[in-house]
Symmetry: C2
Subunit: 500 residues, 2 copies
């Protein structure tokens, strides 16, 4: 059978640019996993690991222009956004190098023996060890920060897990370029290049999650694709953890008092957030509960005006563009759904942002569940409510989300709906915002990027230092002679790691 | 349809003692979950939660004699063991009360705003919130410590999650008694009694894991039962975390140097560990790699002598007894398998402990995978090896385990096989012991009770304070006015919880 070619495609024209690889066969996936698996011992060296992550960041920064050019040609995300994304990506690699060196992630706990305890306590020394080879499924919408050199890869490598990345078909050339830089960095740091291996192809992705030597998976993408891989991970003879970020509606609730206070500001802010990056952020606000009446009308008018002025934009690929055009048409055709700005096809290769609106009581009655599903791209659905009860009824129908946003009055008198709505939004999301917009995810210790299913398939975060915890498991050594223990667990703490 | 009666049965005679309940129908499971779900807000009060856990411990201790009597009549585990198990159970409840009050488990992290950061950092305040109703599947072999008032229940309640327990059919009367004490303790602490609800019946257990308002599950039991429930949890429209402890072979490797040094001591120690509690511990050493030759013969002779002297014992129920008798017969009938002490039926209601042995090279060649599966009850399989390579070959075939044990020489000269074997055993288990026995799990911060599948279905522990992490998820509040935040996240830290 002839190998399936992998083409880099220009989303601005829909035309193939160049063939950059071929899809991996089952045998090639097996070889990729085995060669990555063979690097585990080398990767156990924390000093080399930290050096590798820093070298990778340096090499990526050094090739910044070339990377941004390659990524822009494949994704149309633009050099500014891509430059920022690369900076975030390399900062993340360096941050994980610090994490590796600092050693808290090993979570070392030592209990000295206590023969007098009931039951008697032996010498117990616990730390965390890497799970093994991690499969990383790259995201379409972040060709760097959530792809080959992104957060899943950085955190898995930091944990000591070799990585096999399944490239996203929207940016195979960028993936090849980044993978070659990561592999070169490994060699420079004295590690085997196969600590990171890249494969292409849908079938290769399925083979990967089923491979007996793959111990965990990280995924960013659609609900359909992510759920299929999650199911495959759970159905294995030996199930493995599957940390997937699948999809999120990111609801927004605007109280009557907020609309009364600043309808125009909220409408303009929402327009900016929902159209940012052609609406292709996982945190795009896709569903808004706004009051009926005059204040709500002013909000919708401001939103309409701002979205109307948006230029048509290029989506990541033509499949997504076609799905967006079909998705908004299907939603707009539902009974009672009106278009404030009609979303849909822009030019031959672009899309136009838009706003749909509907009466909330229709949704509360169970109609149009499609409107409560994410539509990837620059569209949001505004549901106009007549009462507080309608808001609760609709919120009760929502799936899990990465974010939930509440707009309340900022006046000193307070907003009578604020506390109860915050309590209703908290169970729906991993991040709850007040008077802000969910796009733009700050990297900080208190950040959480995750949420109830389908936002994520686990309770972990894919952003920030604690993302490393996904790829580790505890092991306790009992009554083990000092010289046989890893140095991190020995008497005297020769490597000076944080211990309890 | 008539309700199926639930009988308490005497394992010493196989005779029903009394009908204590009826199996829950689907409607009753639904009612149980909904009534538990309705207590979430009340359970959010940490002060009441801690008081409840302490009151529960007091009431259980106060009814200690009655509980031990009820449990012994149903399980034949004996009053001494059951008294110890109750002490462990109530100590655990009190320890979790301390955890609730201390507040570290909330994992509070606060980032003050930094408009100068790239990207600008808003005010972010993260903590962990309870997942919701937890389904707990009680264990047969620990009617208290891993059942109605056990670790899963205690840690879930401590996290703020209401619990629906599916009772184990081996001790329904004990389950009813403990549940009524827990529910009474809730009321005494000002909480609704339905923070803990008990259901009986196999079908009820299946309904439970599928119920939309159940958010997570904890399980201790067999691989077959646990895997079926794990699969059901993963196949839900909204999958939920399933923390199961399913089964473990608990391999032991004895080096030639160890056998040379103290064959008799090791043989005697193993006999004690494998027959303890009628071999019904999840950490029972069920598979032993021992050298061929004279030293190995001395070990086997000592093991044989000690096991031969063991009295027949009563297992937890007749189904288990019959499974043990059939399981050892099937193993003993395999080509090349010999009995050092023939395990099997003791009297009409008892079993006899035994030891099977086989040449390791037969297993290394792929024969008799059955010998590498747990056989619940007082039996162990000794595989005699002729070379270090055979040891590695057999270890490479083993599934995941709670424990792995290495016996090495204690002489000053050291043991040439120690380091490499420790490295080979570490990937196989969650706890690695040197020159000890795995039965008896000390409760200590450095303890880990878990291991690669099928030992557990997740990387978490079911013993110790960190067991609480299984029932929580992070939520970050962004730019939220102070008065709307939970007190634990407010400026000035009014409740004085540990924060970062």
């Amino acid at each position: 059978m002839a190998a399936e070619p992998v083409w880099s495609v220009d989303p601005r024209t829909g035309k193939p640019r160049e063939q950059v690889a071929v899809e991996a066969t089952a045998e090639e996936v097996d070889r990729a996993v085995r060669s990555a698996h063979a690097t585990r011992e080398a990767l156990a060296d924390r000093v080399a690991r930290a050096a590798f992550l820093r070298t990778a960041a340096d090499l990526l920064d050094g090739a910044g222009e070339q990377i941004a050019e390659a990524a822009d040609a494949e994704t149309a995300l633009g050099p500014v956004r891509l430059g920022g994304e690369l900076a975030r990506t390399t900062a993340q690699l360096r941050a994980f190098a610090d994490v590796v060196e600092e050693g808290s992630f090993l979570d070392v706990r030592i209990d000295l023996p206590d023969p007098g305890a009931t039951p008697p306590r032996p010498d117990l020394r616990r730390w965390k060890i890497p799970l093994g080879v991690v499969a990383v499924y790259a995201a379409s919408n972040f060709p760097l920060a959530f792809s080959v050199p992104g957060g899943d890869t950085a955190s898995a490598l930091a944990a000591g897990c070799p990585v096999v990345v399944k490239a996203h078909p929207d940016h195979p050339a960028t993936s090849e370029l980044c993978a070659s830089l990561l592999r070169r960095a490994a060699v420079k740091a004295g590690l085997p290049e196969d600590v990171v291996v890249l494969v292409h192809g849908f079938d290769a992705g399925v083979e990967l999650v089923r491979h007996p030597l793959v111990s965990a998976a990280g995924f960013t993408g659609s609900i359909r694709g992510g759920r299929a891989l999650f199911d495959a991970a759970a159905a294995r003879p030996v199930p493995i953890p599957f940390h997937g970020e699948l999809g999120s509606l990111n609801p927004v609730v605007i109280t009557p008092a907020a609309a009364g206070e600043r309808a125009e500001e909220i409408g303009g802010g929402l327009a900016g957030s929902m159209t940012l990056g052609a609406g292709q952020f996982c945190t795009k606000p896709g569903f808004v509960l706004a009051p009926r009446g005059e204040d709500g009308d002013r909000f919708l008018a401001a939103l309409t005006a701002a979205v109307s002025e948006t230029e048509p934009s290029v989506m990541l690929d033509h499949r997504m563009r076609d799905a967006f055009v079909a998705g908004v048409a299907e939603r707009a055709a539902l009974t009672g759904v009106r278009s404030a700005v009609t979303p849909g096809a822009g030019g031959e290769h672009t899309v136009s942002a838009g706003v749909l609106h509907v009466d909330a009581d229709r949704l509360a009655g169970g109609a149009h569940p499609l409107l409560l599903e994410e539509c990837f791209g620059p569209v949001t659905v505004v549901a106009r409510y007549a009462s507080r009860e309608e808001v609760s009824a609709v919120l009760g129908l929502l799936p899990g989300n990465l974010t939930a946003t509440l707009h309340i009055a900022t006046e000193a008198a307070g907003d009578p709906d604020a506390a109860s709505l915050l309590a209703e939004l908290t169970p729906l999301a991993g991040r709850v915002l007040v008077n802000g917009w969910p796009t733009g995810v700050a990297v900080a210790p208190a950040q959480h990027h995750g949420g109830p299913y389908p936002a994520t398939t686990s309770t972990s975060t894919s952003v920030g230092a604690t993302a490393i915890e996904r790829w580790l498991r505890p092991v306790t050594y009992q009554s083990t002679p000092d010289h046989l223990l890893p140095p991190e667990l020995r008497d005297g703490n020769p490597l000076d790691v944080p211990r309890r």
